[in-house]
Symmetry: C2
């Protein structure tokens, strides 16, 4: 049975292009395959629970949801007014988007020209969206240095390459490497001549600099620095990927330029409800509790993974870890076995450029699910 499933999964994978098959395509094409844990999915499950509690009480139980679906939602600028309360920068600096991917597309298409410098490994959309007029220059993180960004080396490389645009994802995807607030300030200070400094903080809610797990965003820098663009998905930290919520913060001039060219009604009714909720003190106070709970559980999970044999866990301050498979273990095989024998789906990193070796990425889930992942991974990797 297991071998048959693995065969079917491998067939499906062959037909899925460069990426691994999605959960929904697996469910559709191999219905007999029982997926217990989706460890590809980078999302705080406790935040989802919290949002759904509010949503059920305020929207479903009251039937308010029907109005959200029937009528036009508020326009971009109105929603920027809601989130101002939480972000503490003027709404003129905020570009509301239909998922962070829309902001990546808008920013890269409009502002990236000449040379763009992208750190590898990375989230592929950044180089995929670089227009034909842009030359993409890669800066490789060093595996030997645990994929940690060497600040001085990076700065000197940028000075040498003289790109118009640089992209920093903090913490980085897929390795979870974190640039401290101090180091990030150093980068933007020393590279203040770079036309566009794109900083993607989609995973910043999972990072921490102190034992109080304080949130430390670079967003306020956009107030005085016209070259900084901060991009933020809200799918991961708030556990609401289906709503398509995100924003980007940048100079007022740039927000105006983007809005003059469209993005008028790009939030749906339920996203509008979420943006209002996000700005409310009662919700955010409870969110902070589940954010910290999730970080603490994730740290514990990553520590437990460190004890397994034949794999190397790279240091992460995101809600996932990059795992290198050692001693002959192969990502294709480990991924297929975890899925077909244990129902645990992890991200096969074979399509990621800039990794040298066999890698998978594993998301932290709930405590219970983390236990299942740990056990499965232990069994699959021990037989090496």
């Amino acid at each position: 049975m297991a071998n048959e499933l693995i065969f079917k999964y491998n067939e499906l994978k062959k037909n899925s292009g460069s990426h691994s098959p999605s959960i929904s395509s697996i469910k559709e094409k191999i219905p007999e395959l029982n997926i217990t844990v989706d460890a590809c999915f980078l999302s705080n499950p406790y935040a989802t629970e919290l949002f759904l509690e509010y949503f059920k009480k305020e929207m479903i139980d009251t039937n308010e949801i029907y109005s959200l679906l029937e009528f036009y939602p508020a326009q971009n600028k109105i929603i920027a007014n809601y989130v101002e309360k939480q972000l503490d920068i003027e709404p003129g600096h905020i570009f509301i988007c239909n998922g962070a991917i829309e902001a990546i597309q808008a920013v890269i298409h409009r502002y990236s020209k000449g040379k763009i410098m992208i750190i590898l490994p990375t989230f592929s959309s950044y180089y995929e969206y670089a227009t034909q007029n842009t030359e993409v220059v890669f800066y490789n993180l060093d595996k030997k240095n645990n994929f940690k960004l060497d600040i001085d080396d990076y700065i000197s490389m940028v000075k040498e390459v003289q790109p118009n645009t640089i992209v920093l994802i903090n913490p980085n995807n897929p390795d979870g490497g974190y640039i401290s607030h101090y180091d990030l300030k150093k980068i933007i200070n020393e590279l203040s001549w770079v036309e566009n400094i794109v900083i993607d903080e989609s995973f910043i809610h999972f990072a921490y600099e102190d034992d109080k797990l304080t949130l430390k965003s670079i967003i306020s820098e956009v107030i005085d620095r016209d070259n900084i663009i901060v991009i933020k998905s809200m799918s991961k930290d708030f556990g609401i990927a289906g709503l398509r919520c995100g924003y980007a913060a940048m100079s007022k001039k740039r927000v105006s330029e983007l809005l003059d060219n469209g993005y008028l009604w790009n939030s749906n009714g339920i996203a509008e409800y979420f943006f209002q909720l996000y700005s409310r003190k009662d919700f955010f106070a409870r969110y902070e509790v589940v954010r910290k709970k999730y970080i603490n559980e994730s740290k514990l999970f990553f520590d437990q993974l460190l004890e397994l044999n034949n794999i190397k866990i790279y240091p992460s301050r995101a809600n996932f870890v990059l795992i290198e498979l050692l001693n002959g273990l192969v990502a294709d095989e480990v991924t297929a076995k975890l899925l077909c024998d244990y129902g645990v789906y992890v991200r096969n990193c074979n399509d990621k450029i800039g990794l040298n070796g066999e890698f998978i990425r594993v998301a932290a889930r709930s405590n219970y699910e983390n236990g299942i992942i740990l056990k499965a991974l232990k069994n699959v990797t021990k037989n090496s």
Copy 2:
């Protein structure tokens, strides 16, 4: 009291820019103003009811909605596969969008260059999104001809102007003027050299050519003609503006170009559910019933409006009518009185370019609401 409300409304209007204040800003700023009917809102209320019936049964009562909000929705190409079943053209021709406005933005930005010819009056986004590199040439519909497009005159004007792009909204907004299928085919045949022929069919479900109210879309022309781009909002006909659903049909090459540049995850989870529902025979059969019911009631309503004094009703095959105010009636005053004295909010067309005179636009709503609109309009316009 009424005068005080009118004063407050006029103050709010002054601060709302060129457009009239939105319903939500009125509710927020003048809470004592009781809005009974929103006759600005161009949407089939029976279609909303039908969608909500399915949504309640299949998503809320089953708690399936929670998965729609937590997980990533399907990507653009997958959703194109769903709607193929209903549209009867291959999914490679279909660009799924987050509301038609996203397709308008994408298409105008990417393909409009040189000269774009736009028929006035129109939906303002078409000329607002024309990029700085595009020269906008207007073609004016003649009030004396009831804003009906004179096909031969239009064709000869296009031949004279030699635009790269032409835009036809069918039925047109804000007048509801309809180009018959025969005439539209004549236009695209005679102007086959035009690089981009954009046909916006957002209101086509309300139009009819025969007494069976058969739907007659031009969409199948995109299969063989690379210059045709059909844009379709689903907010109006399906009554689901809050979901942000729409699509555009065009050559496979153009769909690929757009998707290579983004729009990867531009539908939310509930929109994905709607697209699946839209492709189902059981839903669509019931939708056809409420589509025809709404058209028939709208026709009756428009006939009743024809009997009022001091206004002229222009012929419409959309779900709204353009009304010219005669004998000294003023759009600003009529709009404010209808709202403040009768709770009926209509679209003041003072900001629309290409209208010469005092105009309002009135949406058809449910039979009951149409009765309220009719009575209010009769009272407000009789005292002229």
